[in-house]
């Protein structure tokens, strides 16, 4: 029997699951190899679990979702989180550093109608996760690698070095050295193909921290090219704010 694939959504923008539908050349072939058993964005037919692989998009930000993710874990053999919302809490985790009551009253006239938690947290804060795929959004090639790895019963081959490395391989001109443009490439997880520097802008960290990121030394460098502290803080406080906040500024041992 074909392995069963399920796709789940929590607080998110749908962009990571859309990446699956954006595999235009592979989608119908993939659909022949797996049973797409639960994917509400694409199908109204739902096959009951358990599922062999569950892809989970989005963060946990409501009391109901904190319960729902436990059920998803219970019926999934492998659970892979896709994207910064699911792996780090997403941009909506900016509330973790603010007063959510005040946030609620800014957006809604009757805040009491809206159920929300004080923090937006990654899936791994609630249930064990088999693999975390980074990015805001995830990369199509990396998604296909993770799916084919699990279908073949092997570990996905996803490197965790910094974007900087990919940038050199691509032959980009370093935007910091050449133009003094602030860039998070030295501390950001690889996977996108170093797109931003290829377009002449600095990396803004949408894949979150790489393995052993030396953010302390990068911050010194950013200061040297004239970036003021509030700007620097804002640069790290976006789609992976919780993950970057957890990185110590001391150089890794």
């Amino acid at each position: 029997m074909a392995p069963k694939l399920a796709v789940w959504k929590f607080a998110s923008c749908d962009g990571c699951q859309l990446t699956l539908l954006d595999c235009e050349d592979e989608l119908l072939t993939l659909a022949g190899e797996v049973e797409i058993a639960h994917f509400l964005e694409a199908s109204s037919a739902v096959t009951e679990g358990p599922y062999d692989v569950s892809l989970v998009e989005g963060s946990i930000s409501t009391p109901a979702d904190a319960e729902r993710i436990k059920e998803v874990r219970r019926i999934s053999r492998r659970l892979v989180t896709i994207g910064a919302c699911a792996t780090a809490g997403g941009i909506q985790a900016l509330r973790n550093f603010a007063d959510v009551e005040e946030y609620r009253s800014v957006v809604y006239a009757r805040p009491e109608y809206v159920a929300t938690l004080a923090e937006s947290t990654p899936i791994s804060a609630h249930v064990p996760v088999d693999f975390e795929l980074r990015g805001c959004p995830i990369d199509r090639g990396q998604l296909l690698e993770v799916l084919s790895a699990y279908l073949a019963g092997r570990r996905p081959g996803i490197p965790n070095h910094p974007v900087c490395f990919e940038c050199k391989m691509r032959g980009n001109v370093c935007v910091m050295v050449a133009h003094g443009t602030p860039c998070l490439g030295p501390v950001t997880h690889t996977g996108c193909g170093a797109i931003c520097p290829a377009y002449g802008r600095g990396c803004y960290g949408c894949f979150g921290p790489s393995a052993r990121p030396n953010t302390g030394s990068l911050k010194t460098w950013l200061g040297d090219i004239g970036l003021a502290r509030p700007e620097m803080d804002r640069m790290f406080a976006t789609f992976n704010v919780t993950a970057f906040t957890e990185v110590p500024d001391d150089p890794p041992a």
């Binding site: 929590f10 923008c13 749908d14 539908l21 235009e24 037919a45 805001c136 959004p137 290829a198």
Partner: protein
């Protein structure tokens, strides 16, 4: 199901829409008492955390509201910031923005027509199932989608949350040669788009006509990245007056705010509204395809919106080819210096008018933000259509009624992620 006048029906999550929501229908005897479109999408509070961010950040940050139409968010965000700073980005940079937006219309409309909506007309639960019988058709849809994405990838670096858009223009503009590389794909897409119009025009459409007002941008060209809001009753207003003309209000059953026209009431934005207000500005082949498909000067059947979307793909492809043919690379951006003030931006997302407003302080930091996405504007009109649909079909059994409601909802291509997860249809009959 219990006996005839007292029954409750619960239907699981509504599929093939972006995001998750629920619906509740309450019927008493032979009258529909109440229809509630519930949106449970967890709130993400963009308008709250945008405060204190730099004026350069809204394009990257707000694109994360919606993975289906990130270009729309980037374009409305740029326009709002630029208007606050007293800068207008038009001419060749405006054309490049429109080209990128055409890519999003092609891709988003192809996704909705082929993968989300057409399975309803042909009786399949998904496009993947539909592909077992109609593989070449589904492949055509995927190919169209890919052509749209190719435009966004070239201009934006990637299709979802492009990285190359900035306040004032782009980080880098393409070379004419790079743009010409898109032409063969677009020529094929033009044939495929015309074939799509002919295909969907032949579908069997349920009978339902509504009388909502339409609201869309209007201007010299069929509206994408700019225009002036106008309604079918003739009211026109400046983008800057949007919040005076459109009132947002909250209902207990939804995390998305509803909207109404201050001088009207509920209204509809999106492809049907754009078409009714701008039909004569369609590209030549799109105009002809609309006439051949039997679309009159306006279309008021929500199910036929699939035809209008197909016509809009034709337009977007022709427009893309036109922009590419006359392209000469401009400087990548116009400098935008921050100043204290308020700015407004409205553009036509695939699902309708998308409004942003920002207030900046003298340091260029945002002090307040307002974002009004199309689906929240349409909620009241969708609820009204569902009420009429159910009222006219009370003799149907619960299963048939439910599937009619789900189809109606899908025909609006609602983007619930945008609007604020889980369409759970519940019919209560008493």
């Amino acid at each position: 199901m219990t006996h005839r006048h007292e029954r409750t029906l619960n239907i699981g999550a509504l599929a093939r829409v972006e995001g998750e929501g629920a619906m509740q229908v309450r019927v008493a005897g032979d009258r529909v008492e109440e229809i509630l479109l519930n949106i449970y999408e967890p709130p993400r509070f963009f308008e709250a955390f945008l405060r204190g961010r730099a004026y350069t950040e809204p394009p990257d940050i707000t694109s994360r509201i919606c993975g289906i139409c990130p270009v729309a968010y980037q374009m409305s965000a740029c326009r709002a910031v630029e208007s606050a700073c007293g800068v207008a980005v038009d001419g060749p940079l405006g054309d490049l923005r429109r080209l990128m937006y055409c890519g999003e219309w092609i891709s988003s409309h192809a996704l909705h027509i082929y993968l989300l909506h057409a399975p309803d007309f042909l009786g399949y639960p998904s496009a993947v199932e539909m592909a077992r019988a109609y593989r070449p058709l589904v492949e055509r849809g995927l190919e169209l989608k890919k052509t749209g994405n190719a435009i966004i990838e070239l201009l934006g670096g990637r299709a979802i949350h492009p990285v190359n858009v900035r306040v004032g223009g782009f980080h880098r503009v393409p070379t004419p040669r790079e743009l010409r590389g898109l032409v063969p794909g677009l020529r094929r897409a033009l044939e495929d788009a015309l074939a799509t119009v002919r295909w969907v025009a032949g579908f069997d459409f349920p009978d339902l006509t509504f009388d909502h007002e339409f609201l869309a941008l209007t201007g010299e060209e069929y509206p994408l990245e700019r225009g002036t809001p106008r309604t079918t009753t003739g009211a026109a207003f400046e983008v800057a007056d949007f919040e005076d003309e459109v009132a947002e209000y909250q209902v207990p059953h939804s995390t998305a705010l509803h909207s109404r026209l201050v001088h009207g009431g509920r209204y509809l934005t999106g492809p049907l509204a754009r078409f009714a207000l701008n039909r004569d500005r369609l590209s030549p082949l799109a105009h002809e395809a609309a006439a051949d498909a039997g679309l009159g000067h306006e279309c008021r059947n929500p199910f036929q919106s699939i035809v209008v979307r197909a016509v809009e793909i034709v337009h977007a492809v022709e427009e893309a080819l036109r922009v590419i043919a006359s392209y000469e690379p401009p400087p990548p951006y116009v400098p935008v210096r921050a100043r204290a003030g308020r700015g407004h931006g409205a553009t036509e997302a695939p699902r309708g008018l998308l409004y942003h407003r920002y207030d900046l302080d003298g340091e260029g930091l945002l002090t307040s933000a307002r974002i009004v996405p199309p689906t929240s504007q349409n909620q009241a009109a969708i609820e009204e259509d569902l009420r009429r649909l159910v009222q006219d079909r009370l003799d149907l059994d619960d299963a048939a009624l439910t599937s009619a409601c789900e189809r109606t909802i899908r025909s609006y291509d609602p983007c619930i992620s945008c609007a604020a997860h889980f369409l759970d249809l519940k019919v209560v009959r008493s």
